[in-house]
């Protein structure tokens, strides 16, 4: 059962992956990517990591929807109505990725992988949770800070207005003229 599902998900994932760069419409590309990544989530789910699988799906869906928003914002031809090739150096890229794929598959089959050690615990979610909160606390902390830094940096980069523009030149304008609405007391 597991092998069949793995095969199925694998093939669909690869197909969607190829579709991402094959189709003209950016929306279709985005949701092909979503499909591919959902299959990845499925593979992870099938490989005995239910929590991580579903979380991956959950995250990928939200990411792809947000990407769709940006895709519409920044793509010249989001709907792919005027097909034009946005590619360059196609042969080079193809060559390199083929080489990489060949070397990786070569490695996969040449390296004699060690035997499995130990057996999966009953509740893998509990295992990862315990590890993150225990032995890998440093990783968790680092991830936390990285996410915080990303939030702040992304906001700062994306915002058109500075943090103090709304307070005027002498930082004393009241009420602050803020282009973005909302905010308590306004």
């Amino acid at each position: 059962m597991e092998a069949v599902s793995l095969w199925g998900l694998g093939v669909v994932a690869l197909a969607c992956a190829v579709a991402v760069f094959a189709c003209d419409s950016m929306a279709r590309a985005t949701f092909a990517l979503l499909g591919s990544l959902v299959c990845v989530g499925g593979v992870v789910f099938v490989l005995g990591l239910p929590y991580l699988g579903v979380v991956t799906v959950l995250m990928m869906v939200m990411e792809m929807v947000v990407m769709a928003v940006f895709m519409v914002a920044y793509m010249m031809n989001p709907a792919g109505l005027m097909p034009m090739s946005m590619l360059h150096n196609k042969r080079g890229a193809l060559g390199i990725s083929a080489a990489v794929f060949a070397s990786l598959t070569g490695a996969v089959f040449l390296v004699d992988w060690p035997q499995r050690r130990g057996s999966p615990p009953r509740d893998t979610t509990f295992q990862v949770g315990k590890a993150l909160m225990g032995g890998q606390m440093l990783t968790m902390v680092v991830l936390g800070f990285v996410l915080l830094a990303t939030m702040v940096a992304a906001t700062v980069l994306a915002l058109h207005r500075g943090r103090y523009d709304r307070l005027g030149d002498d930082l004393d304008r009241c009420p602050a003229r803020d282009p973005a609405g909302g905010g308590v007391g306004r």
Binding site: N89, A93, I96, S103, V111
Partner: protein, 632 residues
């Protein structure tokens, strides 16, 4: 007592120095001052001759500067002072007011002081010092008119020749020191051990011969005649040339002690007397004739020193001094007044200046050695001593005496001829020819009186020396004389002298008008036996050749080495600079260029294109991965 001697020395030297330093400032007063100093010196000389003072002062470690007036030096001191005074009386006439009289009189007094020291010195150092001062003053006086190049050249020649000879004295001093005579006392020189005594004696003999212008060295005297008249009168007749003879007379014991020195000196003296006599006969200029005669007369003195007859030598010295200084003063006066010294041109000079002429005639007659004059007596003394030594010498002496008579008569003949009718013409001709002094101003009385006095001294001195009356003189000189001349000797020499004079007087008018085809011998004699050319050939030219060789060697070898060194250094520096420029700088520039190229090349992958960065990253990672996998 020694104070008297110190005064005798200090007066002339001090006055001379003062006058010399004053230069032209006291030009007018100089003659008076000079004369006063000379007179003072004469007085002191007489006093010291009477009292015979002695003095000595510490000079170097273990060597004292000893002075003593004994018999021989007493006579000489008086003679020097007298002649100096006479010459200084005559000098103003010779030197015009525009001349630098201070310097002239200063030098003359300095010379007199030096001569006094020489004759009174008992140890070698003061003798040496005085000897040197004499040489120097002689050089200064000969070259008095120093703005005339020819006179300066003459002074130099004289000076160099005498100096070369003086080295003998130093050699003697050195030998004495080495020979163990620490005190350098002249009398103690005989005590030097072994070879050093011979060396010392040889040195002294050479110095004496050089100073007295004897044979090998006599050519400098002909050059000395270029000096002013009085200089010739004082230095080159009475005193300086006599100093050598006096030295030999005093050191006769040393000469005898060495054995070979005495005969050598004697024969040198004899030969010089004869040879220089012949040269004198061959001369056409009056002063040259007198110079040559001086050499020959000094030859007699040297002969006397050689045969060991101090009294005869001294008498000869005194007589000759008086006679010759008178003749030189007269010649100088004629040179200044008539502007010429050539004998044919001086025809009848006596008649023109009767008083001066009389003095000249008396001096010349004395010089000729005619009886009863002083020189004849002196000569007999010397010849008697010589005969006792060896008959050869006696014959040589007689011949020299004859020749002496010859040249004296020649001078007399020319001078006493009747005045030619156009005597004015001669004046002008003579003047240009000789570049003579200030033209036809007649000699003043100041010149005539000393000439007459000196001539008188020359005449009467002879009388004092006659055998009957020679006792007191011999007593003064000390040391008995073994060979008093016996009468037949005196008669023989008188006859020889008279015969020679008559022959010359007879022969002279014929030769004067005969065409002047000078035979080789005559020309050789006229040229002072070409001693100068020989000296030049033997010494001067090789010295110069050696000097040139050394200079060439120095230029080529030493300078060459230095130049090559410098050039080598320069080329080295240039090479280093080139190496630095091309090598070092080139390397640095190459490295810099290389770095720039590498930098540019390193920038190529930074294309700014994101996908190319990814490509590079992927390739890099795969390489790394493969390395990690392969290496492990």
């Amino acid at each position: 007592m020694s104070a008297l001697l110190w005064a005798l020395i200090a007066l002339p030297l001090g006055a001379g120095a003062a006058l010399l330093l004053s230069g032209r400032r006291w030009n007018a007063l100089a003659p008076g001052l000079g004369l006063a100093a000379a007179a003072g010196t004469f007085g002191l000389a007489v006093a010291s001759a009477v009292f015979r003072p002695e003095a000595s002062a510490p000079l170097f470690a273990g060597v004292r500067a000893g002075l003593r007036v004994d018999g021989l030096s007493a006579v000489l001191v008086v003679a020097v002072a007298a002649v100096t005074t006479a010459v200084l009386v005559a000098s103003p006439g010779e030197l015009g007011p525009r001349e630098n009289r201070g310097r002239f009189f200063g030098l003359m007094l300095l010379f007199a002081g030096a001569m006094t020291v020489t004759v009174t010195a008992t140890t070698l150092p003061p003798l040496l010092m005085a000897w040197e001062v004499m040489g120097a003053t002689s050089w200064a006086l000969i070259g008095f008119w120093w703005h005339r190049p020819d006179r300066v050249r003459a002074a130099d020649t004289a000076f160099v020749t005498t100096r070369a000879a003086d080295l003998g004295l130093y050699l003697a001093a050195g030998a004495a020191m080495a020979g163990g005579v620490g005190s350098l006392d002249l009398t103690a020189l005989t005590g030097a051990q072994g070879g050093w005594r011979h060396v010392a004696c040889a040195g002294l003999v050479v110095a004496a011969l050089g100073k007295s212008a004897q044979l090998p060295f006599s050519f400098w005297l002909s050059h000395a005649m270029r000096g002013p008249g009085p200089v010739s009168a004082l230095l080159h007749s009475a005193t300086m040339v006599a100093a050598g003879a006096y030295l030999l007379l005093r050191l006769h014991p040393l000469l005898v002690a060495t054995g070979w020195a005495a005969p050598l000196v004697a024969w040198t003296g004899g030969v010089t007397a004869l040879a220089l006599g012949v040269v004198a006969v061959a001369q056409r200029a009056l002063k040259q004739l007198l110079a040559a005669s001086t050499s020959s007369q000094v030859g007699f003195m040297v002969l006397a020193a050689g045969v060991g007859d101090p009294s005869g030598g001294t008498l000869q010295l005194l007589a000759h001094a008086a006679a010759k200084s008178a003749l030189f003063l007269a010649a100088g006066a004629w040179l200044t007044s008539l502007g010429t010294e050539q004998l044919p041109a001086l025809r009848g000079a006596v008649r023109r200046h009767p008083l001066l002429g009389a003095g000249f005639v008396a001096g010349a007659l004395a010089l000729a050695g005619l009886p009863p004059l002083s020189l004849w007596v002196a000569k007999d003394e010397v010849l008697a001593a010589a005969r006792a030594q060896s008959p050869g010498l006696y014959a040589l002496g007689l011949a020299a005496a004859a020749v002496a008579a010859g040249y004296s008569v020649k001078a007399l003949w020319y001078v006493t001829r009747p005045l030619p009718h156009d005597h004015d013409h001669d004046h002008d001709h003579g003047q240009e020819q000789d570049g003579g002094r200030r033209g036809a101003r007649g000699p003043t009385r100041s010149v005539s009186t000393p000439v007459v006095v000196l001539a008188a001294a020359a005449v009467f001195l002879g009388v004092a020396a006659l055998p009957g009356l020679s006792g007191p003189l011999r007593g003064v000189l000390g040391g008995g004389q073994q060979h008093a001349p016996n009468p037949w000797e005196m008669a023989l020499s008188a006859a020889v002298a008279l015969a020679a004079a008559g022959a010359a007087w007879w022969w002279l008018p014929r030769s004067a008008h005969a065409p002047r085809t000078a035979s080789a011998g005559k020309r050789w004699a006229a040229d002072w036996l070409s001693m100068e050319r020989a000296a030049r050939a033997v010494l001067v030219r090789p010295a110069f050749a050696l000097a040139r060789a050394l200079a060439a060697f120095d230029d080529r070898a030493v300078d060459g080495a230095v130049h090559h060194l410098a050039r080598g250094g320069l080329t080295l520096a240039r090479g280093a600079a080139r190496a630095d420029d091309h090598g070092l700088d080139g390397a640095v520039r190459a490295v810099a260029a290389g770095c720039r190229r590498l930098g540019a090349w390193a920038r190529r992958p930074q294309t700014g294109l994101l996908h190319q960065y990814y490509a590079q990253a992927v390739v890099g990672f795969t390489l790394l991965l493969s390395i990690v996998l392969l290496v492990r």
